[in-house]
């Protein structure tokens, strides 16, 4: 038998090594959780078909020249990517003690969170692609061409990542699956107090005010600009800025919750 004590010693793997190890575990789990991935794909398709089927004629008569399918595709994509998260699995890890096992290792603490988020980002981008393909089948093209598709995927992915920070914060703080599920309710004000159905200049009253302060308004505007307008750099910059702002808040909360969870008591 190999004299193991003499040959192999534990050592620090480094940040990127740890990050890829944690992300790899999360990515391997995704195909085993089809029950959580399939709805994330079906909901946006359902949304796109229903909203276009129900509202396209009205929108066309109210806003002549509006490509309503192109207008709705970003909403469907946002529905696909928002809330896609390993946070419920993190709760299970905490509850069954596996998170403790991970924290006893010399793994970089930030990797425990960022590794899962990297897997989320990959999944979000993968989920966006079939929605875009369905959009292409129903006639939605990109005014910005293939480059616009790449930027679209990046922006949608970053939004998914930004939103998931809230769910990780809740998971780490509470270790309660019900609380994480309740956290998805955060999506509703983001998704519906904005230009989901109508352009911003068509909104009035308190909805218009809410939409003005809702970062989702600027995210949707940026995504739509890639489909409908061409390279609208100002709109894109504001869209990325809105996502960055939400991301800064949610990730800060998640990091604080992680520190609190990891602090020996």
């Amino acid at each position: 038998m190999t004299p193991r004590a003499a040959t192999i010693k534990a050592r620090e793997g480094g940040f990127w090594h740890d990050l890829s190890a944690i992300a790899g575990r999360a990515l391997r789990a995704i195909p085993r959780e089809r029950e959580s991935v399939i709805p994330a794909l079906l909901i946006p398709v359902f949304w796109l078909l229903v909203s276009v089927g129900a509202l396209e004629t009205i929108a066309g008569s109210t806003y002549p020249g509006l490509d309503f399918r192109g207008f709705q595709l970003p909403v469907a994509v946002v529905f696909a990517v928002t809330g896609v998260s390993r946070a419920p699995e993190l709760v299970l890890d905490i509850q069954n003690g596996y998170f403790d096992r991970l924290t006893i290792t010399p793994v970089r603490r930030s990797s425990l969170l960022l590794g899962m988020m990297m897997a989320d980002l990959a999944l979000v981008i993968v989920l966006t692609i079939p929605v875009l393909i369905i959009g292409w089948f129903v006639g939605v093209g990109f005014a910005t061409g293939f480059g616009g598709v790449i930027v679209f995927l990046a922006l949608a992915g970053l939004w998914g990542l930004a939103f998931t920070g809230f769910l990780y914060a809740i998971a780490l703080k509470t270790a309660d699956p019900a609380a994480v599920t309740a956290g998805l309710l955060l999506f509703f004000p983001f998704a519906f107090l904005t230009t989901t159905f109508l352009p911003q200049d068509a909104l009035s009253g308190w909805i218009a005010t809410a939409a003005e302060y809702n970062p989702m308004t600027y995210l949707l505007a940026a995504l739509r600009s890639l489909i409908l307008e061409g390279w609208a750099w100002d709109t894109l910059a504001v869209g990325f800025g809105a996502v960055a702002t939400i991301g800064a808040v949610s990730l800060s909360l998640a990091v604080l919750a992680l520190r609190s969870r990891l602090r020996p008591r």
Partner: protein
């Protein structure tokens, strides 16, 4: 003199008003198997979680392999392997994936992980199941995999919190054999908690007995057993309310007499020599005896001697710090 593998200095830990550990001083030598024996709620898991950097002491300090468990957490984690009381596994991974991830988080290369899995394959004893999802494993398979995960990075010191709890007898023997092998072949220092007397007796070079957060006895199993007498004569009475003859303690060779329910336990240097006089003593006082047995002293006798309670029947609701942590 070589510094100890682990040591605690006046270690205390409180959970609210409950003192789970009360000024615990321990010293674990390098290369020994130290058995930490006590009932549920005595403080065993609290101590092991402090040593493994998952909890911090309320006061006092602890060192593992020369590193402070609070100030040098990272250095401690690099050098220890831990299997906690409840198996901590991800049911959606395969056994193989879990071990590889574990090795990777300890900085091992792919070939090193291959080598380590080959070395501990005997302990895992899962065969093809190693490539199945852990959710399909039995309790014994999970426990063995959990232990393997604690070993995959080849730690200098191993902490095992009730490693055979819930295992069937065959799995239990396998774990015992692996613990012996790790210690004898590789000189690995092992700190194990247990509530099983035979486990501590079989495995431990030295045993510390903890009761209500305090160390109440410490030594080799033989030393501890000798401290309560070489032999024990157990007299079971037909009537629980019958009095114990008061001359038993004065019989030649008798060291002590303890009464618990319908049992009278007489510790003696030479049990065979005192069985007759003991039987006569009961007979002369018309105390009906159901049976008399002679056995050598056990760690349970030691526990009884130092705490006044039997380990098997000790009140598990005393502190239950496991629930709190």
């Amino acid at each position: 003199m070589q510094e100890p593998a682990a040591a605690t200095f006046g270690l205390c830990r409180r959970f609210g008003d409950v003192e789970a550990l009360r000024s615990v001083d321990l010293e674990i030598e390098r290369g020994e198997v130290y058995g930490f024996l006590g009932p549920n709620g005595a403080g065993k898991s609290t101590l092991i979680r402090i040593m493994c950097t998952l909890l911090v002491p309320s006061s006092g300090s602890a060192e593992v392999l020369g590193f402070d468990v609070v100030g040098d957490r990272h250095d401690v984690r690099l050098r220890i392997g831990v299997a906690l009381q409840d198996v901590a596994l991800d049911p959606k991974q395969t056994g193989n994936e879990l071990l590889r991830l574990q090795g990777s988080l300890y900085g091992l290369s792919r070939s090193e992980i291959d080598q380590r899995i080959a070395e501990i394959r005997g302990l895992i004893d899962l065969g093809d199941a190693l490539d199945r999802q852990i959710s399909t494993y039995s309790g014994g398979m999970k426990r063995r995999l959990d232990l393997a995960a604690a070993l995959v990075h080849n730690p200098e010191m191993l902490f095992l919190d009730e490693p055979t709890s819930g295992l069937d007898p065959i799995s239990r023997l396998k774990v015992w054999n692996e613990i012996r092998r790790l210690n004898s072949e590789y000189g690995m220092t092992i700190f194990l908690t247990t509530q099983y007397l035979d486990e501590a007796d079989e495995l431990a070079d030295r045993v510390g007995i903890i009761h209500q957060g305090s160390i109440v006895a410490e030594g080799t199993p033989e030393e501890l057993k000798r401290s309560v007498g070489t032999d024990v004569v157990v007299v079971r009475l037909s009537n629980t309310s019958a009095a114990t003859p008061d001359d038993l303690g004065r019989l030649p060779g008798v060291l002590s007499v303890e009464r618990a329910g319908d049992e009278v336990q007489v510790a003696a240097l030479d049990g065979a020599a005192v069985v007759g006089p003991i039987a006569v003593s009961f007979s002369e006082r018309d105390v009906a005896v159901r049976d008399i047995t002679l056995r050598t002293a056990s760690l349970d006798d030691v526990f009884f001697d130092v705490t006044g309670a039997r380990l098997e029947s000790a009140d598990s609701a005393d502190i239950l710090e496991e629930d709190r942590t």
